[in-house]
Amino acid sequence: MGVKITQDGVECTALLEGDIDHHTAKLIREAIDDYITKKRPSTLYLDFGRVRFMDSSGIGLIMGRYKNIKLLGGELWVVGASDSTKRIIKLSGLGALGVMKEER
């Protein structure tokens, strides 16, 4: 479980791995917030391609990062979500933010 953050020009990708729950979301959140405050990327991709499990803590994680990157003048995309992750995202109404993308 965890997160790997890579930068490509003004875009950065946070590759999320393993299980996302309340316990792991805290560490992931801190790593991403730290990174975007320092590097100020124009675009943040949250890549769910390697996520095996996610509960509603994942929604809080996406929402919080969305707010933070907007405050810094950037944009956020959610990529690589599995069908079960998409089910929870759908339930949350997050889709209305227009952040979902199949691939980056």
Partner: protein
Amino acid sequence: MKSINEMKLEFASRSSNEGFARSSIAAFVSQLDPTISELADIKTAVSEAVTNCIVHGYSKTLGVISVTAQIFENRVIIRVRDRGCGIPNVDQAMEPLFTTGGEERSGLGFAVMQSFMDSVKVSSRPDKGTTVILEKNIIPRMSKVGCPS
């Protein structure tokens, strides 16, 4: 009705136990031969209920969470209980997006439980604690693949 099998888990309300709780329940329920998606639903619902005990029930203390599971022929009943602060208004708490948890919580835990399980019941008393009862029908594998019985 008598259950085929039963189990009980008790653990400290530390967030590192969230994964332990949902994986243990999934391992126990596996004897009903559920589909991957049925098992994923149960894991998610258990994770929501256990996280609520830790985040809300025992927000200021460390307490004990108990999770029991009962297996019937084609049904599983899971009870998640804390002896924490309780919920003053259960109907309001179960409304989608209602949260007392602040910024990083979305108020979707109960909505996820309801959408992923067949029945969700909550009983709670302020200062006594909260019990969430989750039920799901597990369709026997024989009828899933359409075998004549």
